[in-house]
């Protein structure tokens, strides 16, 4: 590194000596919003020489003091600037009416180009489009706004959970990798650490054709974010305050039944006091109860009759030993959740002068979660500084720091403590407010009260927990009061760079980047719960059932660091009508990760002391992270790219990059290349009154991927000791000797048209992609001894169409209405091959998928000849005409391995409406949708089994409850045929009917469509008339807006879940409910 820097210094000195005699002025041309104006021509009035601004709007020119520079660009009015004493000059141009300014897009190494010169469908999302409703998550904010991007959002209850974005379908045989996020040139592994308040614009590069300069990292596309910079000549002091508060309420939950109480017995059971039982219980003698120990709701019908509720058996509160009325509690699940409150405050200070540009922003996000005691607090600091040290040298630095603290267990898998109980195992008669009031209730022995107690006749004075303790469940409030799940992360990233302008054509830039993350956290599963439970599992770390029932403490820390040394040469030259822009450079990359993660095992020595030293057995790790993890990885890349424009309407571009990595055999390298051309044919037509803009383009790209660290060897790790004998196992994964990275090829072609002075326009792109030779873990027959082999396999062919559309239906003085829309059609995402002899690979699995002890759910596979992500499961056997085959009891005959279709939607998109009235009112309505695709719901699967869902208590076609006895006109009406094709038409007892899906492991009835349309964002903003109010001296601008997110799920086939927020690829496993948020936001500029 030291040597590298000294070389840099020498290079700079050489340059300085060569040009020191001349008076050079460096200038920057900006528009009225402070954005650079590229390719403007700058000439000295009366002189012959002229230069052109580069893509950053910058130029340098040799002049004398007093010269007048004339600056012109097609879309702007011609402007003059007089050269004074300073060496830096910033000129602001005014946009001509009815023209659209050039959009600047950003790629790797912060290289910028005009959108016009792009040969692929690069999309740009501005800060305003992104933040119509301020979002704390960049992916959610992109939903519907980018053609070809499918955002898989997550419930707001899951604090800080990563969402997933798919660009142009799924990239892999299994669940593939997504795009990289790049903030000001630095790759950030977590989209959650991107603060949307600081985003100036986002460039979406869909894949190899557009993201080739990123090399292997760009294989699945890149989301390139440029943060805000200070704007010169901006009015006021440059202080902006943006403050908002939003409230989240549970919106979408499964449809519950509200007629039958908890338990399995359809009749209330009479309680008779027995000697040996507490005397206080005599008050309840002769009264009735429903069985509490079964956590299902197949109990008695609720008619408001007298019964003994669960809490009556516990002394020490006002309702002890008293009966209550058995009534439905329709909203008990919904009312469990808090109203989530999100406070978001951002303040920024910015200043730009002729030679400095400075912005510092601080954002505070404070979320009170919907689950009791959950919170997320995030502080983000974003600084950007650049200084022109001389007319040739610019130094800049960007430093970002994110601190996040969160307390939330975030588990929304099978049988989790909130939705996993309410939707899978619960009693519909539980009054949630009483559970809330009695959250701290415990017996004198310290047993916390539970709704899921045992029946009173099991009472044993010697074993009180056997009765008073939770059978499978604790009071959910007690759980969230006592269980701690804390995590803190500190991410620091940024860069320092030095740019030296050798002359107006050639620039050299050296950059050092660093991105590092430290995390620490702990989980406490307390002793108080250990002594309060019966069969219920408590901690997730136990190796055995018995161990999961013990108190546990877990803690861990991790450190990861990525460093980049980049060198970039930029060369731009105008030769007659040709504009050449080229870059060459290198990147040296080093990554280090160290992690430690451990938990107690076998319980705690001293109850209530949470420390690793307090572990009964040797500390261990059962989590997903390594007990200790050390990863070292290095790579080096060299690249060159160039584009040539002819008269700014015909363009040719190409990229070549070569990478070497430590995970590859020595001498091995991968190459990335792309080539493209585009023609803005509208420039050849004089009359722009109809066709304002027209462009055709085509491009090709190929990315070869690199392996991950340690992919190529088999390693033996240390296992537990058995009676003094260490253990070691042969890993279940073996790499093949020829393992190498995958190949990702992409071709695309498109056309862009805008008409009627840009009031209507569309961009249509056809793309086709082939991914092959994925270095994937391929499941082989476990009888080989090595069930998984890491080798190159498979080929996935995809193609599709991305369409962006814009329309301005109304353009009046006081009213404008803008619509922009996206539509992406995934024509094909087919698995062409896997490996010789293999036609199928399981790609995503839930809690009850294949390979688990009780496989009963649906799962996805990659299957040769079919679209990616085929959902499979045990279905209902049908005859040739599709009629279900029933047995003599009217129950379905299971059919193994039925294909339910793909989990990928075929269409995705959205439309955004912006309506401005009197320039002061702005309304935004953003809608997004997906069509096609399937998901499996484990919640509804168990909800039916447990009698929680409305289906299990619906009326049949005779108008009677399905739960009534068949002989009394009840039962579920079933029709079908027997195995001899004879029609069957009968009624089946509801419990028998709903039990069959479990005993026959039929998942078909719980597979739903992913199709949805939702109004995701709504914002009503009002720009306060600061001048009329007489405060313009202090306040430059003030905007107040009322905002809403996820306000309306306009259409979805299932009303039980929000299909845009399905937690897993194959479906959901008990996920949190959908939420709706409403809030207000105030933005002030000083």
């Amino acid at each position: 590194m030291r040597r590298f820097l000294s070389l840099f210094t020498v290079l700079m000195l050489c340059g300085a000596l060569a040009f020191a005699q001349s008076r050079v002025v460096t200038g920057k041309v900006i528009d009225n919003t402070g954005k650079p104006v590229p390719f403007a021509s700058v000439t000295v009035k009366g002189g012959k020489s002229g230069v052109q601004t580069d893509v950053n709007g910058e130029y340098s020119i040799r002049v004398n003091t007093g010269d007048v520079l004339q600056i012109s660009q097609a879309n702007f009015d011609v402007t003059d600037a007089t050269v004074g004493a300073t060496s830096n000059l910033t000129t602001e141009l005014t946009l001509k009416t009815n023209t659209i300014k050039e959009v600047i897009v950003t790629s790797a190494f912060q290289t910028r180009r005009t959108l016009r010169s792009q040969s692929s469908n690069v999309q740009n999302v501005s800060s305003e489009q992104l933040n119509t409703v301020r979002a704390s998550n960049v992916n959610n904010a992109l939903a519907g706004k980018v053609a070809g991007a499918q955002v898989r959002s997550q419930s707001a209850v899951a604090l800080g959970r990563e969402t997933v974005i798919r660009l142009r379908g799924e990239n892999g045989l299994g669940v593939g990798g997504g795009p990289i996020y790049v903030v000001d040139g630095t790759i950030i592994p977590s989209a959650n650490d991107i603060n949307t308040d600081d985003v100036d614009n986002i460039t979406i590069l869909q894949g190899p054709a557009s993201a080739a300069l990123f090399g292997p990292d760009g294989s699945n596309g890149a989301i390139v974010i440029t943060t805000k910079r200070a704007r010169k000549n901006s009015p006021g002091m440059g202080i902006e305050i943006n403050s908002g508060v939003t409230f989240d309420k549970v919106y979408v939950t499964p449809n519950y039944q509200n007629s039958y109480a908890g338990g399995t017995s359809s009749d209330l059971i009479q309680y008779t006091w027995q000697p040996g039982q507490p005397d206080t219980w005599k008050a309840l003698d002769g009264k009735y109860y429903h069985n509490y120990d079964d956590d299902a709701s197949w109990g008695p019908r609720m008619n408001g009759q007298e019964y003994i509720p669960w809490y009556a058996w516990y002394g020490g509160h006002e309702k002890s030993f008293q009966t209550a009325k058995l009534t439905p509690q329709a909203n008990n699940a919904k009312d469990f959740y808090n109203t989530g409150v999100t406070l978001s405050n951002n303040v920024s200070f910015s200043k730009a002068t002729d030679n400095t540009n400075f912005r510092i922003a601080y954002t505070n996000l404070d979320v009170k979660g919907l689950i009791p005691n959950s919170y997320l607090k995030r502080h983000t600091l974003n600084t950007n500084l650049s200084v022109d040290l001389s007319s040739r040298i610019t130094a800049s630095a960007s430093i970002n720091y994110v601190n996040q603290r969160r307390n939330a267990d975030g588990d929304d898998g099978y049988a989790n403590q909130s939705s996993g109980s309410f939707n899978q195992w619960f009693h519909r008669d539980l009054d949630i407010n009483i559970l809330k009031d009695l959250r701290g209730l415990k017996t004198p022995e310290g047993i916390y009260a539970s709704w899921n107690i045992s029946n009173p006749d099991t009472y044993d004075a010697q074993n009180k927990v056997g009765f008073y303790g939770g059978n499978y469940w604790f009071n959910p409030y007690t759980w969230f009061d006592l269980v701690k799940s804390f995590n803190e992360r500190n991410r620091l990233f940024g860069d320092v760079s030095l740019t030296y302008k050798v002359n107006n054509d050639l620039k050299i830039k050296g950059t050092y980047r660093r991105q590092q993350l430290t995390t620490n956290g702990y989980n406490i599963y307390p002793t108080e719960l250990q002594v309060s439970g019966n069969q219920t599992g408590l901690n997730p770390y136990g190796e055995t059932t018995a161990e999961t029932q013990l108190a546990a403490y877990q803690t861990g820390e991790s450190f990861s660091q990525r460093q980049y040394y980049e060198g970039l040469l930029s060369y731009t030259k105008k030769v007659k009508d040709f504009q050449i822009n080229s870059n060459a450079g290198f990147v040296i990359y080093k990554a280090t990760q160290r992690a430690f993660n451990a938990n107690t095992s076998g319980g705690l020595i001293i109850p209530g002391v949470y420390s690793l030293a307090n572990s009964v057995n040797k500390i261990r790790n059962n989590g997903t992270n390594n007990f200790e993890g050390i990863i070292n990885y290095k790579s080096r890349g060299l690249f060159i790219r160039a584009d040539v424009g002819y008269k700014n309407w015909a363009f040719l571009e190409g990229t070549f990059r070569r990478d070497y990595a430590s995970a590859e055999p020595q001498g091995f390298h991968v190459d990335t290349k792309s080539l493209g051309a585009s023609i803005v044919f509208s420039d050849l037509i004089k009359d722009k009154s109809i066709l304002s803009y027209g462009k055709i383009r085509a491009s090709y790209g190929q990315v070869l991927n690199l392996l991950d660290a340690y992919d190529r060897n088999v390693y033996y790790t240390v296992g537990d000791v058995f009676n003094g004998n260490p253990t070691m196992t042969v890993p279940n994964l073996a790499p093949t000797p020829t393992l190498h990275g995958s190949t990702n090829d992409e071709k695309e072609a498109g056309i862009e048209l805008r008409f009627l002075k840009n009031r209507i326009g569309a961009s249509v792109t056809y793309w086709s992609r082939t991914n092959k030779d994925f270095p994937v873990n391929i499941s082989f027959d476990p009888t080989t001894g090595i069930p998984t082999s890491r080798g190159n396999a498979g080929e996935v062919k995809k193609n599709g169409v991305d369409v962006q559309f814009n329309l301005q239906p109304v353009n009046m003085k006081n009213l404008t209405w803008d619509i922009s829309a996206t539509w992406a059609y995934l024509i094909k995402n087919e698995v062409v091959s896997i490996a010789p002899g293999l036609t199928r690979l399981v790609s995503a699995n839930g809690t009850y998928g294949p390979g688990t002890t009780n496989p009963l759910s649906a799962w996805t596979v990659s299957e040769v000849g079919k679209p990616w992500g085929q959902l499979h499961g045990t279905g209902i056997k049908r005859n040739a005409s599709g009629v279900a085959i029933l047995d003599a009891n009217g129950l379905y005959t299971p059919e193994a391995d039925v294909n339910y279709g793909s989990v990928l939607p075929s269409y995705t998109g959205g439309f955004q409406n912006t309506i401005s009235l009197f320039k002061n009112f702005v309304a935004n309505v953003n809608i997004d949708y997906a069509y096609g695709g399937k998901f499996f719901s484990l919640s509804n699967y168990w909800g039916d089994f447990s009698g929680l869902t409305a289906r299990t208590a619906a009326l049949n076609d005779k108008g009677n409850s399905v739960r009534d006895a068949v002989e009394d006109g009840g039962g579920v009406h079933v029709t079908g045929v027997d195995d001899a094709d004879k029609a069957i038409d009968m009624y089946v007892d509801a419990k028998t009917y709903f039990d069959q899906f479990y005993s026959s492991k039929i998942s078909e009835k719980h597979v739903y469509d992913l199709t949805y349309m939702k109004m995701r964002e709504l914002s009503l903003g009002y720009k306060l008339p600061v001048e009329r109010m007489g405060v313009s001296k202090y306040i430059n601008a003030a905007t107040v807006s009322v905002i809403g997110r996820n306000l309306w799920l306009i259409y979805s086939k299932t009303k039980d879940f929000d299909p845009s927020e399905i937690s897993g690829v194959q479906g959901e496993d008990g996920q949190f409910p959908g939420t709706r948020s409403i809030g207000v936001n105030l933005k002030l500029n000083f």
Binding site: R3, L7, N291, D294, D457, T458, N534, E543, T544, Q549, Y565, G567, I580, S582, A584, F586, I588, K618, I630, R636, L638, I640, A642, Y660, S662, Q666, G667, Y710, N713, Y716, T717, V718, F722, N723, G724, N725, P726, T727, M728, T729, A734, D781, P782, T783, T784, G785, I786, S789, P850, G851, T853, P855, D887, A896, D897, K991, Y998, S999, S1000, K1001
Partner: protein, 529 residues
Amino acid sequence: MKYKFVKSLFALSIGIALIGTGCKKLEDFGDTDVRSDASLNPITSNLLTNAQVPIANLFASVNAGIRGELYAQHWSETQYTDVSLYGNPQLDFGSYSTGLYDLQTIINLNTDVATKSTFNVYGTAITPLGSNGSQIAIATILKVYYLWTITDRWGDVPYSEALQGTVNSFPVFDKQEDIYPRMLADLKGAIASFDNTGAAVRGDIYFPVPTAPAVATQANVDKQILSWTKVANSLRMLIALRMSKVYPSAGGLAATEFADAAAQPAIETNAENWVMMYPGGTALQTNVFYSALNGRKDYAFSQTLGDILSNMSDPRINAYSAPGTAFPYGLPRDQAVAFDGSVSGAYAKPFNPSFISPTSSIVIIPASYVLLAKAEAVERGWITGVAQDYYESGVNSSFAQWGQGSAAGYLAGQANYNTGAGGGSNIGFNSAYPSIVGADANTSTPLQRIQLQKYIATFGDGIQAWSEWRRTGVPNLKPTAFGTNSPKEIPRRLTYGTGEYGTNPTEVANAAAALTGGDVMNARMWWDQ
């Protein structure tokens, strides 16, 4: 012109990059890609321990031993009753990639000339890990045991081409008919492979050699070899007897193999039992039944076995169940949950708690199996001897194993070799659940008495209990009336897992096609015809 310029730019950046990397070659990263927290070499003694532990895990595994205990009606389910209602047992094999491949690796490393004398395999003169021959022998015996438990559950499974790693990704499913002779041959080969001139085998938790002195005495080497030889011969007898339906005759394969093994040293006293002894402490060292059952209420002692033992006044009921009421077999969930509640939580769980503490042992092959097998072999005319003597010592040995003192009175009464009437008829019937049909545990021949005793002695060993019931039909168990399968019969095998259909589709399809009725739980495997 432009090309030249671009080329020179590229060359310049290579130059800068080289300087940046300290003038190393661009592709030279030294040892960056070598992990520091793991080893590239396996140690055979550690692999052996790792492969031995999961053998006992099979006993308490929901999909292995416990499932067998349920099908054999030794146990009942109390809340989630899908297994005892014969829900489709479409399950993956399991053991191949865990214990079995570790064992195969031990055999391979001890066979390959490149590795057989390396430190990781043989150790050093000061701390030897074991002779090549004895390591291969022990690994082979364990391998056969694992594969035996697999073929007896699914039928045709990969054997000859299994465990070849990435060399053969699609192992053929061998016919069970071919697997049985091969297991017997492999066991004989293992016995022949023991090397009493070499070092004792380290990492053996079943027949451990004292750690001091580092080089085991000859007496310890001999003792370990003899212990394993007895295990191998016992296995040979039990495997041969499993073929009694297909080779019943005295001159048949089963008889010949049995007789050959019966003449060799085998496990005939409880002191010689193959036992897993748990030191307690960590999860790995804790009795697996304790780990699986403690704190949960999933399983109960079945009324079917309860009635048999009560009818025969068999004191082993006190060892097999905790105090309480035996649980009716095969109830649907609502009735099971209701029963659970109505008996005041006092239904009997499996095992007297003293047999499933964290440090309780699990007997993998007890003497009673071998003695009762010999009794049956004499009865069948496969070997000579006095069947009644073997029978009585078998029962006595089982009593002793379960801490129940003398069986003299028992053997004089209901379990009498010549006159014992067995456990009675209509067993497991409960008037509260009239749909449950009682089973028949009456015995009318000495052969049936031997087989009933075997059924009783296999408590806690579900795979053997279910297999022996399928072989003998004793007692005459009745399926639950609430079965969800079709026909509602007790399962005769497990169906192949979804994993096999995905990863070895052709072979599994062939194996399924060879079964009458296809890959279903009520199809009969070869020895069960």
